[in-house]
Symmetry: C2
Subunit: 698 residues, 2 copies
């Protein structure tokens, strides 16, 4: 595998700039750790003050090191850090990890110094991690390019997990929590201020690394949308779950994030969109992050949402059923025939699903094996959770229980199963070794299985939802603000349905236009100088008949003249009244980091009061659009609420996908696009009003 | 303390009916456990087959036992269980714990047998736990009236927690999880089918027990509302937190619950109401249940919501700030002056709140002590969370860190503080012994502090929110369905504001009535035979002027005659049109278990589509009503949405409290009460339509 991060994560030789004999200092600890753990590569301490450092020959300067250096650890004060990095670049060092703090996180001067580091990386063709980071390590190579005290705390175990974190302290915290839980990791990278290498690039490295199966990431903000999208796409292609903690959700949190890092944090809703689109699991707590990573270790992802809940406690069965529903899993009952057979095996068993073996079952493990086999073979469940509480730990049942579940695994090695039990570490390991993820809390077992199920879905359906092709004659976003009519014409060219209408420049035109519409029509003043026409009474609804239309035309012209005397009036728009249907809002915002993001919600209070909206990054396909529609709380309004006919969901989804394609094609040309209302009818849909605000006007 | 459960939880002598020499059998295990753990009371094995059981003299029958027996354990098959219990009653045994299963949980015959047990309890003046339960234990007395294998698994440690669970398996599961976490319990009771003793009575026992400070409960359904309300009120008076897991939230879960237990599970929203009103913490997962119980052990409850977040990792500070906001805590910044002082102590520190000590601080613990002192003394935070990750575990900082936080506790013994760190058990215990609850996950530390804060609030404000007094002339709910006018008259008598209106029995009356209302009026047909008058066009709005009113009267009479020829027509109601304001819905349902529960929500889609409603058990006070109003997602609509004036929240809260008093006073007389719409105005409020459905009509 060729990758510019190899010198950082697989270095054959390391220089420590600012090497120290004091193993507790940041220039001493890495050397100490590497020597203690048996790093196989060459270590070159660099410090003019010493002949030797920790019994290794030391060098006055990086230039004096006689051999090529893959990675330099920068452990000197901020004042001299930049020159040392420069020296590394000049000496052909391939990469550097900069521990030194005092850069962008501490105001403008630091920001400038950090730009210098970025420049050196660019021009010196050297990859740089940090500054202000806790470093990196690669467990299998005993490469400890970090001053974290983690290696001093415990023997860190390897495992198919790669961790990357902008925060050094959090990165080591979550790694240690995992180690305590028996979850090893092969790679650990903290990116700090990200002058060069960022979280995204490390994720991409992990996506390609043979010895990483699960990726755990932490960020306060992402600076390069293109990099993160490429990285997450690669991880998805490689069927490697990404579990992400992104902090700064609330205003308070985000404020703290900005004060803490130099990253430009995009709006949190946009991050949700990013994560949803790339099948990333967003964890809210460290425990959730660790739980899901732990469950992924066994790497068996259900093919669907149907789950069987098997328990020796009816009460816990109820609880797991509640949780399964909450997490979107399907607790379908066993086939009647199978239930009958279960009853024959254990008369008192609850046989629907949850399957309650009852305590009796424990006396005859063979019966439980029979029951589990029936459930697996005669129904088409995609996953199983088995709750055994302390039975596997009890001296009365320890061995029979282990034998039972060894037999189950032998019979069904590929069935996704999670075990919920309570016992000491040694008991838990018996079942982990058999291939069961083990959870003490049955509810968290369900949450974990739901996460595995979601990964299974996104891995399956990775490629079958491409954005629709843009029409050949799709019009671009113009340079200047255009009126409603023009805006709708442009959107129509992108394949978005709009209300039939025509622009009248005289009362007579208006009457003619109206006569071509059956039923009443709407009259609206059209002027690129009047963006919010309702506010000046520039809209008349349900106008019917020649006289009314003629009169309406005059009224609108008068109001325009009164309220906006200088406005260039293009005329009056005569539109069909789109009757019935459900009012929705299609919007696009241009995120400073991620570019165009499409918003969807229902009109009125749903968007304005309840903020019941969802976002996706443009462009996306029709299936993604359907997922957007299904996400909002007010979804039911589209299903035909109180006897009204159901709305044409497909037309809506198509419009969402097409506006995303239009937005992506015009990424740099607009600030916002609003289609409000976009009315979804029982058959079809129509944009009734639209506003496009080009970039760089304000 | 005198309590009828004392013979069950503090027995001086125990008989085991169906005693066995086989320690793995349910008749053998309790004796084995008690002997092994050193139960001080007398044990009388009862089994006609043996002279001795486990080296204790055995008796043929309970009648042969020469001494008074406080508690009998029933470990015989269902077929003979009832007669054995009867025998116990006749021998003056004070209580029984019935392990035997095969009763209400297994259909009608079992249900009948269980009624027998209930009768024996009643008539024999004997308290009975079970049947179908796993038993009870009292750690301090080594009283193990259970066949759980828990005592065989580990030495169970005592602690100021009382556990009660309907499910035996779950009860022992959560108890073992707690034990593994180092949380001991003094009492453990599983109530099974609750033929006599139920979860509520055990909670009440714990509320009065000197050696219980925190109560942990599990239930699938509650059968006696009066008992649980009394018990929770006592716990609240005793300032003992109750942490409750109630399963059967979803339809699937509830179905499973019914199939599993004999309990009549009330609707889940009603349980939420119950728990909210009595300050119970409802846990969704076992881990949450255990976390909160753990945090309560240190028993220090914040006086308010202002929290300080102190961290050596900026990133984790951001995360904790997010969590604090999510859980309703207030992350207010430090005073400017204090921030300046912090900067003087540690130049690079983030000083707002979260306070980020940065890694540097670790080198000088005195500085951290200074910082923490400044934060505690110069600001008025109610609680503090300190994130130290692995620093307390690191060989480089273990001792200084312990000394530092010992000093902090010495200075501020009463400040609620939680520590977040990662380390082995021995490290954690150092801080637990100092009086810090310790959490590995900073987010869960925040959740726990939020829970302690909530308990602090309910303990403080227990008594200052009494329901308003019922007006002396409050009318009762009538025996038969009454029309809208009568319904509103009744509600008005209860102190609920209604739109001014009068009943007209002729067109002329109507005109006169309308003339006394300024502005347009509403005309509605009034007939107790026509419940849904809108459906027959029985309502005319915005009618103005004598002719229009006269005409309207005739139209309504005609429509009534057409659609409901047999209906007794009382006349036409002439009401003021309540203009503006926000439409809300006040409802009351009569829950089969809990009686009248008041529902509140906003009109239209909010109630009908979004189900954005909240419930409380009647009666309640104005403050509780305010909490209801604050709970709904659409709350903002009442604050003056888009320039409209804010609504009169006090008038709304008053109406909610008063309808709760009315409902409680008429508890057994109605099925439902609907006040829809109840329009809340900028000043005042008015019920515009109302429907009261008396009991026993359908």
């Amino acid at each position: 595998m060729s990758n510019s991060l190899l010198p950082i994560l697989k270095p054959r030789s390391v220089a420590v700039i600012g090497a120290s004999n004091t193993t507790s200092r940041i220039g001493g600890r890495p050397i100490h750790s590497m020597k203690a753990m048996g790093y196989k590569g060459r270590i070159f301490p660099v410090n003019p003050k010493y002949q030797t450092v920790q019994n290794l020959p030391a060098f006055r300067a990086i230039g004096d090191v006689p051999e090529p250096v893959d990675c330099a650890l920068i452990a000197v004060p901020a004042a001299i850090a930049v020159e040392k990095i420069q020296a590394c670049a000049e000496s052909g060092v391939k990469s550097a990890v900069v521990f030194t703090s005092g850069f962008a996180e501490q105001g403008e001067d630091g920001e400038l110094a950090q730009r210098e580091i970025a420049r050196i990386a660019r021009e010196g063709d050297m990859r740089i991690v940090g500054p202000n980071c806790l470093g990196v390590f690669t467990t299998s190579d005993a490469w400890y390019g970090t001053f974290s005290n983690a290696p001093a705390l415990m023997k860190l175990s390897a495992g198919p997990i790669g961790i990357v974190s902008q925060s050094g302290a959090y990165g080591s915290h979550v790694m240690l929590v995992m180690q305590n839980r028996g979850i090893g990791c092969n790679y650990w990278v903290t990116t700090g201020n990200e002058s060069d290498v960022d979280v995204a690039e490390v994720i991409e490295f992990y996506a390609q690394a043979d010895d990483v199966e699960t990726i755990v990431a932490y960020a306060e903000g992402i600076k390069h949308a293109d990099r993160i999208r490429k990285a997450l796409a690669r991880a998805l292609d490689a069927r490697k779950p990404v579990i992400f903690m992104k902090v700064g959700k609330t205003d308070v949190g985000a404020r703290a994030a900005v004060s803490h890092t130099a990253s430009l944090a995009g709006s949190d809703a946009i991050y949700d969109a990013l994560f949803t689109q790339y099948g990333v699991y967003r964890a809210d707590t460290t425990e959730e992050l660790v739980d899901i990573a732990y469950a992924c270790q066994h790497g068996s992802y259900p093919k669907g949402r149907k789950i069987s809940l098997q328990t020796i406690s009816g009460g816990v069965g109820v609880q797991m059923a509640d949780d399964a529903v909450k997490y979107g899993l399907e607790v379908v009952p066993l086939p009647e025939a199978t239930q009958k057979k279960l009853k024959d095996v254990i008369p008192f068993a609850g046989t629907s699903n949850p399957v309650d073996f009852t305590a009796q079952a424990l006396n005859e493990p063979d019966l439980m094996l029979q029951n589990i086999s029936l459930t697996v073979e005669e129904a088409d469940y995609d996953s199983h959770i088995i709750f055994m509480t302390a039975v596997p730990a009890s001296p009365f049942s320890r061995d029979v229980c282990a034998d039972l579940f060894r037999a189950v695994k032998d019979r069904y090695p590929d069935e996704p199963m999670i075990m919920s039990l309570v016992g000491e570490r040694d008991i838990v390991e018996i079942y982990e070794d058999l291939g069961y993820p083990v959870f003490e809390d049955p509810s968290l077992a369900v949450r974990a299985m739901a996460a595995l199920t979601r990964f299974g879905e996104v891995f399956e359906h990775r490629d079958d939802d491409l954005p629709p092709a843009a029409p050949a004659d799709m019009l671009p976003v113009p340079q200047m603000v255009v009126g409603e009519a023009e805006a709708k014409k442009i959107l129509a060219s992108a394949g978005i349905p709009v209300a039939s209408e025509s622009l009248a420049s005289s009362a007579t035109d208006a009457v003619t236009a109206a006569s071509m519409i059956d039923g009443p029509c709407a009259l609206k003043i059209v002027s690129s100088d009047i963006l919010h026409k309702t506010e000046i009474g520039g809209v008349l609804l349900n106008v019917e008949g020649a006289t009314a239309v003629e009169e309406g035309y005059r009224i609108l012209m008068q109001r325009a003249a009164d309220h906006a005397p200088d406005a260039r009036i293009e005329g009056v728009l005569v539109s069909e009244m789109v009757a019935g249907g459900v009012e929705t809002v299609l919007g696009v915002v241009s995120d400073p980091v991620f570019g165009p993001a499409v918003m969807f919600g229902l009109g009125g209070v749903f968007v304005e009061v309840l903020k019941d909206v969802t976002f996706r990054l443009a462009p996306f396909g029709v299936q993604e659009a359907h997922r957007m529609i299904d996400e909002i709380r007010s979804r039911v309004m589209l299903d035909g609420f109180r006897g009204t006919a159901p709305s044409d969901i497909d037309a809506l989804a198509d419009a969402l996908a097409r506006i995303s394609v239009f937005a992506a094609a015009n990424a740099d040309r607009f600030e916002t696009i609003d289609v409000n209302p976009f009315i979804v009818l029982p058959k079809g849909a129509a944009a009734v009003d639209a506003l496009i605000v080009p970039k760089g006007l304000t």
